[in-house]
């Protein structure tokens, strides 16, 4: 175990365009909110040093574009992630319904060895908006999270800084567990399989 090594946690934030991914990241890292964020294009990251269980770790938080077009940044982008944060807007049901495909996409691209237990965290953002606008109930969101292996769920407002610190503490904690788990690793690329010279049990591929 690399417990004395300096720990870098890679966290990836996914979700539809305009749900508040950049705002959440900026509220957490810079304690700031602006109504005038630009759409994230491609990918962008911020880092933050954070104490988790008496350990100082560096969180590298990757913000992503909401348009599925950029998902094909692909394997290299997702690999090595220690936690995946799924964000939706509680006032936008479509952004909730697409959580499934964001989760699937992550699991396909990152291919963690133990997908069942890979740490996700779900954030229902924009709870500062008037109640009448809300279309996804807390119950509905929690039911979905439970059905996916008890994903931790937080209702947040990046604008009012509600629950953001809390949520990211959990993200950091779960990411660190993931990172520290000696059984955990990502599947290697198939082409990186070592071929033993003397081992004729397997045919080397013909490529």
């Amino acid at each position: 175990m690399a417990s004395r090594k300096k720990v870098l946690l890679k966290v990836i934030i996914l979700g539809d365009s305009g749900v508040g991914k950049t705002s959440l990241m900026n509220q957490y890292v810079n304690k700031k909110f602006s109504n005038q964020y630009k759409a994230t294009i491609g990918a962008d990251f911020l880092t933050k040093e954070v104490m988790v269980d008496d350990r100082l770790v560096t969180m590298q938080i990757w913000d992503t574009a909401g348009q599925e077009r950029f998902q094909s940044l692909g394997v290299a982008f997702y690999r090595g992630a220690d936690c995946c944060v799924l964000v939706y807007d509680v006032n936008n049901s479509k952004s909730f319904e697409t959580l499934d495909s964001w989760r699937d996409e992550f699991l396909i691209q990152a291919s963690p060895r133990d997908p069942e237990n890979f740490p996700f965290v779900v954030l229902g953002n924009k709870i500062d908006m008037e109640e009448s606008k809300r279309v996804v109930s807390q119950k509905r969101a929690m039911t979905w999270c439970q059905s996916k292996g008890n994903i931790p769920y937080f209702e947040t407002s990046a604008k009012e800084a509600i629950n953001v610190e809390n949520a990211f503490q959990t993200i950091a904690k779960n990411a660190l567990q993931q990172e520290a788990d000696p059984d955990f690793s990502y599947n290697e690329f198939p082409e990186a399989i070592k071929i033993d010279n003397d081992n004729s049990k397997y045919d080397a591929c013909a490529c």
Partner: protein
């Protein structure tokens, strides 16, 4: 196997082929390479089994020599030296400083002092090249109206070589008052060989074509009801209201939202934002295969602000997208190719930085993704973006000059590039980029000259087509 050996073929083939324009004899060189017995082991360069042989080793060695040469060069532009010299000669312009820095470095008679910094102890190319004149990068004043109009005859037809115009724009950009005209040429609204009368009819035709395109979706209930259309419309809307709102052109909120069904219906908007949406919707229709992709609103905004006209902004955007569209391909092949080329350029020209990126697991260069995708739109201030883009459109030294700009930023800022937005001095970056380009050009020539000896004519640093 050392990483350098693994990738040396790729460097040779990808970088040099990508930039084949830099050496005017590259085509011949490539042919020669294929004919050369030394090259044969390199030919199956896509096969996974790369076995270093005697001949491939010689190529590796050559590249190492070049790498050392470039590592030294990179050291020579270190900011420290620059700052020191700046305080030593406070009256020098930055350009003079650059030149003097180079002179100083090139005249250094004891390269050994640097040898320890690198792993390879050979300076063959360096010592051969030391007698060459210093690399020269210059910036000049922006192209003004007087000079611009002097390029045209009485009928309004270009009477000078295009390269003269390109160089003027490359060196200094253009002044505000003629920008709207100059951009129409660089973005393909006008052809360079047209006269005034022809341009007027071109504009007329383009206007008609635009309104016809716009009507296709604007007037069609069927299109409006289509789900994909509505999705794209929502996406465009979400992005437009987040694009350059600090610019006064887009800042005001003085009209109600036109679509009561929109999720943003409660917010106010302005006529320019609405026209931005229309232009992007029309493009979405004009180029159905590509459609609207996030990032395009960033590319359109400066064009619209400069053109101040829906029709010309649209066609300027089409022209810009013609060179940028591969960045937005669904499979990301365009972006991958560019990042890979940049990766090879770094490896070729700045091995120390390359090592650092390797160590920090950053060789995928994702942190440069946005730079390349929208040509540094988010990295420089508004006015600087206008200026940088026209410099890049000029295609004066290379159509790939933006990669040298990226390299220049990396060269200068090294290890802390993720939070640079609008803190990079553009003029200095362009000087650095040009110098890097000349350096690259010289290195390509040196490697080829070494390989082919007297059969290769001497290399000229003149502009190449």
């Amino acid at each position: 196997m050392e990483p350098i050996e693994e990738t040396v073929r790729e460097i040779k083939w990808n970088v040099l082929e990508q930039f084949s324009k830099v050496a005017r004899y590259t085509r011949n060189t490539a042919t020669n390479l294929l004919d050369n017995p030394l090259a044969r082991p390199l030919l199956p360069h896509l096969s996974p089994g790369f076995v270093p042989s005697e001949s491939t080793r010689s190529v590796v060695d050559e590249y190492d020599v070049g790498r050392v040469y470039l590592a030294k060069w990179a050291a020579s532009v270190a900011e420290q030296a620059e700052e020191a010299a700046m305080s030593e000669y406070p009256n020098q312009s930055r350009e003079e400083l650059y030149v003097n820095n180079f002179k100083k470095r090139w005249s250094d008679t004891d390269p050994r002092s640097w040898e320890e910094e690198t792993e390879v102890g050979a300076f063959e190319i360096l010592s051969n090249e030391a007698t060459l004149p210093p690399l020269h990068a210059t910036r000049s004043n922006p192209l003004n109206a007087e000079r611009w109009f002097s390029f045209f005859d009485t009928e309004g037809r270009l009477k000078v070589e295009l390269s003269e115009v390109q160089e003027a724009v490359f060196r200094g950009g253009v002044e505000d008052d003629i920008r709207v005209e100059v951009w129409k040429y660089f973005l393909g609204i006008y052809s360079w060989d047209s006269n005034q009368v022809e341009r007027e009819s071109m504009l007329e035709a383009k206007a008609q074509q635009y309104w016809a395109l716009k009507r296709e979706w604007w007037d069609s209930a069927e299109v409006q009801a289509d789900e994909t259309f509505r999705e794209q419309k929502t996406r465009i809307e979400k992005d437009v209201i987040r694009t350059d709102r600090s610019i006064s052109f887009f800042a005001v909120e003085d009209i109600p939202h036109p679509d009561p069904l929109s999720s943003a219906s409660s917010t106010l908007t302005n006529k320019n934002l609405e026209l931005m949406k229309d232009i992007l919707m029309t493009y979405n229709f004009y180029n159905k295969d590509l459609g609207y992709v996030q990032g395009m609103s960033d590319l359109l905004a400066p064009l619209f602000v400069v053109m101040r006209n829906e029709v010309t902004a649209f066609w300027a955007f089409v022209g810009f997208m013609n060179r940028m569209k591969s960045n937005f391909y669904r499979d990301q092949t365009g972006m991958r190719r560019q990042l890979l080329t940049l990766n090879h350029l770094i490896q070729f020209m700045d091995p120390q930085l390359y090592k650092h990126l390797q160590k920090t697991d950053s060789l995928n260069l994702f942190f440069c993704f946005r730079w390349i995708l929208v040509w540094f739109k988010r990295e420089f201030k508004w006015d600087e973006v206008l200026f940088l883009w026209e410099v890049l459109w000029s295609d004066y030294l290379s159509s790939q000059f933006h990669l040298f700009v990226a390299l220049a930023i990396l060269d200068k800022h090294r290890m802390y590039v993720n939070d640079l937005s609008t803190t990079i001095p553009l003029d200095e970056t362009l000087l650095r980029a040009e110098t890097l380009f000349h350096q690259f050009q010289r290195m390509v020539a040196a490697v080829d000259r070494k390989r082919f000896g007297a059969t290769t004519e001497s290399f000229s640093e003149n502009r190449v087509a």
